[in-house]
């Protein structure tokens, strides 16, 4: 099992004492896709942040290839996140000062493996080409449309060949056409690179396109449809 979430509980101190995640369990294998749906404030993003090691649960364990990664130090977690996790957010969060190519290459700067870094340049070009942005590779985010920016964000998420791609409302700020295109792109790349995909979304349409879909209610994941 690539990813195993075990008895995760998370409560925010500033709110009332009701946990947003309560003894939550889930599993995900290599290449699998999963959608997590739920109303606003149900804890979808919190779960995604915990899986992505950006946040820590109050209790529980998070196994990656049978190793509890919550035991890792902040530094090792950052390294783990850099190599094994790819993030796509609702907003693209591209660095406005960098070109498309440079934005894609940003995650590689945190990699220490020089041989791997060298490969990344070629991979970046391939991916940019693949998402249809080759002509825009030297442009700055400010000159691109929202859909184009989000495609760059997807490429950036995949540049380090992560085993899991986490997408938090990746189409939330896009129009229908661009939303379709991004979902298709995510699934295509999932198939192509065998990268597991977890998508947090409100969109039932996206949910339907994923192999597994759950709804987060009362801190627990429940099968959706």
């Amino acid at each position: 099992m690539l990813l195993k979430v075990q008895h995760i509980t998370k409560t925010y101190l500033s709110e009332n004492s009701t946990p947003v995640l309560l003894n939550l369990d889930m599993e995900l294998d290599s290449g699998q896709t999963m959608a997590i749906l739920g109303p606003s404030g149900s804890g979808k993003s919190t779960l995604l942040n915990i899986i992505g090691t950006l946040d820590k649960p109050d209790s529980g364990a998070l196994f990656f290839n049978d190793k509890n990664i919550l035991d890792l130090s902040d530094k090792d977690l950052a390294s783990f996140r850099n190599r094994e996790i790819g993030f796509v957010f609702q907003s693209h969060h591209l660095l406005p000062q960098c070109t498309v190519m440079e934005n894609v290459m940003i995650p590689t700067l945190a990699v220490k493996d020089e041989a791997f870094k060298k490969q990344c340049k070629t991979r970046a070009m391939e991916l940019i080409h693949e998402v249809g942005l080759w002509d825009h590779k030297d442009k700055f985010p400010g000159t691109l449309s929202g859909g184009e920016c989000q495609r760059v964000a997807v490429v950036r998420a995949l540049i380090n060949k992560p085993r899991i791609l986490l997408a938090d409302e990746p189409t939330g700020s896009l129009d229908r056409e661009n939303a379709h295109a991004i979902t298709a792109l995510l699934l295509k790349l999932n198939g192509e690179f065998n990268t597991s995909l977890i998508v947090v979304t409100h969109s039932e349409e996206i949910g339907k396109q994923m192999a597994n879909a759950f709804k987060l209610l009362d801190g627990q994941l429940k099968p959706w449809k």
Binding site: S14, L54, F80, H93, M101, I106, A110
Partner: protein
């Protein structure tokens, strides 16, 4: 793509906000580096002043009112092969243009060709010819003299004899010398020659040493020797001086008397002190002291013999100690018709301080009448008294005491003609000593049987036993001491750092504010980098590197501006702030190491600030950062803030309360600290309030609550604005309220003037008691005045007008009983009786320590000491003299001097003659007019007369100048504060574009939105200003309540109003500018 490339991209993309950070960094660097450069420049200027005033002089040999052979210098030179120069330095005053222009306190310096070696090598000066003078530039300027002009000098008469010694005339205390100005000496030509530690240029007149000696009726005498020796030669010089220091240099003579059966030791100073007689007795136990005294009248059976001499010594047989037996010579026995067994009344003057005469008399029994032969006919028993010994007849005597000429008979003249001052009566030495010993000595001669020792051995033994040091001569490494004083003096670097402190803090806060505003723009980026797997250290490295890339140009620009800052400060020091430096030798020194140090310190401070702010941001979660939202989490710091706020408030209230209830006087230091702590407390309380506001959610929404909530959106930003205004207002108000009214209360006895009208210093000492009506009339004072006469020792000025760190300030001997109830003590040790503080200084403390009083500002700043500390001096006999500071005065006209009791002063400086410092009261007319009259009365003494209130104002002016600088720099800082407010406001509106757009979309009028935003910032402005104003009021309470400080309420209020108006203008201008934007555009931007 690499990290450097990413940083490079960011630098250019965010150039506008980077530029604002660069400006903040540049301001910080300018202040830090600029103040360090100012410090270097002043220090270097003082060192230059030391070089200019001393030339190549390394060591100085000098005594107190003693003169030695000028050839001593040459003898030492031959022995050590080093450059030396004897000089005869005297006090005088000068006039030109027929007395139209006058100048007091002139240094008259006799030099010979050897002085040349103390000038720079390329300057050839030579000694002035007889009747010619070299003068300093400042003297030439003041007396409007040019080369070839005539100059009249009146110089204090140099004499080995103390001026107020008994029977010494006071008629020839000055010598007038007419001179032609040969050359006007520039500073490099030692025009500023000064052996005192001071940066101010003295008025100098250089004459030929030989010529000056002639004018003084001296022969080849000097009173100082300059040494130029690059080696550490102090011990060698000391030994060489000892070796060549003759009896003549000690003012001692050994002659053969009584047909060479006796050696007689006498002093050119007339009296031999007990230390010398003791040494002589140790060398030759058979030595006998003689004390010859002038008697006003010998009376027997109603008949008198006037004005004759009496010798006390080994004349009675047997020498039976203290008794009242007298032997008279046959001449007087005949004159008085006296017989053995008759009672004789002997009347004489006792000469007190300031020539106060008291005629006393004593009855003796005539035990023998002796023929005028042998030891009873020895005219050498009369000491050599100038004005008497050389007088042709008795009527020409200048005895320093009143002589009633009509009492002198022809037979007295005959006796004078035949026997000169041969004593007519003889008593036992012990009796004479008891009656006539004085502070100048205990005998007029010592006689030794020539059978006990040969003359050469006696002279050698005397030289061995009486060292130059025991006569008060000292050898000082003046150059080293001067440079130490210059480097240890007022540290203008630290001073301006202190004065610019708020400007610096404001610059740092502004820089932090600008950097944080910039960082807020980058929050999303930081969040993304975190999500992409960048470790904290990598992100920190990126932001810190970027920060440094921004900071470095800022630091370089700041460094350049620091030079400009230094130039502006120097311009001000040479013009409007001249009062605090009092020298025209100010040179700008820009040392690369200082420039780099200042820039490095700035860079370090800025790096720490950036590092702290980045770290703070990194604690936020990635999603919060990306959304630029603060996480709503429990604020752990709130508890600490509460502890900090309440504890500082408690300490402040406890300190202030204790001082208010138990303090004898309101201590300014405690109140300032208390006010400062309250300021911290209030700022922390505001921080707590604003943080709490952000956490409250159940409050009903009103416009006021909305404003409070809006302010708590970014508590750090609101907090910084409040700090800027609170600190600024605190500094400005406390400075304004502490400024002294230069003349208020100056007539009060408890004020710094002591209630006196005038403070006078004379170049020549006044030898008489000026409270004697006859003496006042003699002096030309028509309306009686009250004089307090003070004695002075040589020493440096330790007032705030001297920038050097003075070690031995001038000592003033004061009559404590005459100062009772005057001046105010603000600090004291237990040795000082609070009821009669002045009387406390009359008694020596344990171990012979002398109690002393100084101005508290001099103790603290001039000397770097505190009440209870001890100052070490050498007295006239070369003995160590310990002065314990038992009291500190509130600012007074005594600033720069150490005050001790007059009697204790005379005990240690017995040769000191007359007074040079006077406190005067009793003038009834206009003070300016009275001052002119006093100047006329004391024109022959070279009097410098100041209205006491003006003198005090001059010292206070220095303090006020410092406060003005503080106020100005504080004002500059407030401008930075306002810039901070403006930038923050602009950013706030920018951040809230969506909110503003929506408010307008739902129907809010522009004016209403403007009102909400303006009120928010107005609230910050008012809170900051109010905190600053209240705490400044507490901090300056002692000054407000003091009768001597007139709080400049108007200035302070005007500045606060200006701060508020300025703030309001910014708020209004920026808000209006933003609201002019199109509604749709605003929404579209969002």
């Amino acid at each position: 793509m690499n990290l450097l490339h990413l940083i490079y991209r960011s630098l250019f993309y965010y150039w506008k906000s980077h530029l604002t950070v660069v400006i903040g960094v540049a301001i910080c660097t300018m202040v830090i580096t600029g103040t360090l450069i100012v410090g270097d420049s002043i220090r270097s200027s003082l060192e230059l002043t030391t070089q200019l005033r001393l030339g190549k002089t390394e060591y100085l040999f000098s005594g107190i009112d003693r003169y030695f052979r000028s050839t001593l210098a040459e003898e030492v030179k031959k022995e050590l092969q080093i450059d030396v120069a004897p000089i005869l330095q005297l006090n005088g005053f000068a006039s030109s243009q027929g007395g139209q222009l006058k100048l007091n306190n002139v240094q008259v310096i006799g030099i010979d060709n050897q002085f040349q070696s103390f000038l720079p090598d390329d300057i050839k000066l030579g000694s002035p010819a007889n009747g010619e003078a070299y003068i300093s530039e400042n003297l030439a300027q003041r007396l409007q003299l040019k080369e070839g002009d005539a100059l009249l000098l009146r110089v204090e008469k140099a004499s080995q004899i103390p001026k107020n010694a008994p029977f010494v005339t006071d008629q020839e205390n000055q010598v007038s010398i007419r001179l032609t100005v040969k050359k006007i000496l520039s500073p490099i030509e030692l025009g500023r020659f000064n052996l005192k530690t001071s940066q101010t240029a003295p008025f100098n007149v250089f004459l030929s040493l030989t010529f000056l000696n002639e004018e003084m009726d001296l022969s080849e005498k000097a009173n100082k020797i300059l040494f130029h020796s690059t080696l550490d030669n102090e011990q060698n010089i000391r030994e060489a001086i000892r070796k060549h220091f003759t009896l003549e240099d000690r003012a001692l003579n050994v002659i053969s008397v009584m047909d060479s059966s006796l050696f007689e030791i006498t002093s050119e100073r007339i009296f031999l002190d007990s230390a010398i007689t003791k040494k002589v007795n140790e060398i030759v136990p058979q030595a006998k002291e003689i004390l010859t005294y002038m008697i006003n009248s010998f009376e027997v059976h109603g008949k008198e013999t006037p004005y004759s001499f009496l010798s006390a010594g080994p004349f009675l047989n047997p020498d039976s100690g203290l008794n009242y037996e007298v032997i008279i010579n046959s001449w007087m026995a005949a004159d008085l018709n006296a017989s053995i067994g008759d009672s004789m009344k002997i009347s004489y003057f006792i000469i007190g301080p300031l020539r106060q005469l008291l005629e006393e008399s004593h009855w003796f029994i005539i035990t023998d009448i002796v023929k005028m032969e042998g030891i009873y006919n020895d005219r050498t028993l009369m000491p050599d008294l100038p004005g008497m010994s050389d007088a042709g007849n008795c009527r020409d005597w200048e005895a320093g005491v009143p002589i009633e000429l009509d009492r002198i008979r022809d037979k007295d003249e005959d006796y004078w003609n035949n026997y000169r001052g041969t004593p007519k009566a003889f008593i036992n030495y012990e009796t004479g000593k008891k009656l006539w010993q004085n502070r100048y000595g205990v005998s007029t001669a010592i006689r030794i049987p020539s059978s006990t020792i040969d003359k050469e051995t006696l002279e050698n033994n005397l030289s061995q036993a009486i060292s130059p040091e025991s006569l008060g001569f000292t050898l000082h490494p003046v150059k080293k001491e001067g440079l130490t004083a210059a480097s240890g003096g007022v540290d203008f670097g630290q001073l301006f750092m202190g004065l610019s402190f708020f400007l610096l803090v404001a610059g740092l806060i502004l820089m932090a504010l600008l950097f944080n505003l910039h960082l807020e723009k980058r929050m999303g980026e930081i969040g993304t980098l975190k999500a992409l797997g960048y470790s904290y250290s990598s992100i920190r490295k990126i932001i810190l590197s970027e920060g440094l890339f921004i900071a470095i140009p800022g630091v370089i620009i700041g460094g350049i501006f620091a030079i400009l800052y230094n130039k502006i400060i120097f311009y001000a020091l040479n013009t409007v702030w001249y009062a605090i430096v009092l020298t025209d030798i100010l040179q700008e020194v820009i040392l690369v190491k200082t420039l780099l140090l200042g820039m490095a310190i700035s860079l370090l401070l800025i790096s720490v600030s950036i590092w702290y702010n980045v770290n703070r941001r990194l604690k936020e979660t990635s999603s919060s950062l990306q959304r630029n939202l603060k996480e709503s989490k429990k604020n752990n710091r709130l508890g600490w803030l509460k502890v900090g706020a309440w504890s500082t408030a408690f300490i402040a209230i406890a300190m202030l309360g204790y001082e208010a209830i138990f303090g004898q006087i309101l201590n300014t230091g405690i109140f300032f600290t208390g006010g400062g702590l309250l300021l911290v407390s209030f700022i922390l309380l505001f921080s707590i309030l604003i943080k709490k506001e952000g956490m409250m959610s159940n409050e009903e929404l009103t416009q006021v609550s909305l404003i409070r909530k809006n302010l708590s959106r970014n508590p750090a930003r609101s907090f910084r604005i409040v700090i800027l205004f609170a600190l600024g207002t605190f500094i400005i108000i406390s400075t304004g309220l502490n400024k002294k009214d230069l003349h208020q209360g100056a007539n009060e006895p408890t004020s710094g003037t002591g209630g006196f009208q005038f403070y006078m210093e004379t170049t020549m000492p006044v030898l008489k008691d000026l409270n004697n009506p006859q003496n006042q009339l003699d002096q030309g004072i028509e309306n009686p005045l009250e004089f307090i006469q003070l004695r002075k020792s040589e020493g440096d000025d330790a007032s705030c007008l001297n920038l050097n760190r003075v070690v031995s300030p001038r000592i003033l001997g004061i009559p404590p009983e005459q100062l009772s109830g005057r001046f105010t003590f603000i600090k004291s040790t237990e040795d000082l009786d609070p009821e009669n503080p002045w009387i406390s200084i009359q008694k020596e403390l344990a171990g012979g320590v002398i109690p002393a009083v100084l101005d508290q500002t001099v103790i603290q700043w001039g000397l770097g000491k505190k009440v209870g500390d001890t100052l070490i001096y050498r007295d006239e006999a070369g003995d160590e003299m310990k002065l314990k500071i038992i009291g500190g005065l509130a600012n007074s006209i005594f600033q720069g001097n150490v005050l001790i009791d007059n009697q204790l002063f005379l005990k240690h400086f017995p040769s000191n003659s007359g007074s040079n410092v006077f406190l005067i009261n009793g003038a009834t007319e206009e003070l300016d007019q009275s001052r002119d009259e006093l100047a006329r009365s004391f024109r022959n003494e070279g009097a410098e007369i100041e209205i006491a209130a003006d003198r005090l104002a001059m010292f206070n002016q220095v303090e006020n100048t410092y406060l003005s600088i503080f106020l100005l720099l504080g004002g500059l800082a407030m401008i930075l504060g306002t810039v901070g407010l403006g930038v923050s406001l602009a950013r706030n509106i920018q951040d809230r574009g969506r909110e503003i757009g929506i408010l307008r979309a739902v129907g809010y009028q522009k004016s209403k939105i403007l009102q909400i935003i303006a009120y928010e910032h107005l609230a910050l402005l008012l809170v900051g200003t109010l905190i600053g104003a209240i705490t400044a009021f507490v901090a300056t309470l002692p000054s407000i309540l003091s009768e001597f400080v007139q709080a400049s309420w108007q200035t302070a209020a005007m500045i606060v109003v200006l701060i508020l108006l300025n703030g309001l203008l910014w708020i209004y201008g920026i808000s209006r500018n933003y609201l002019r934007k199109d509604l749709l555009l605003t929404l579209r931007e969002e």
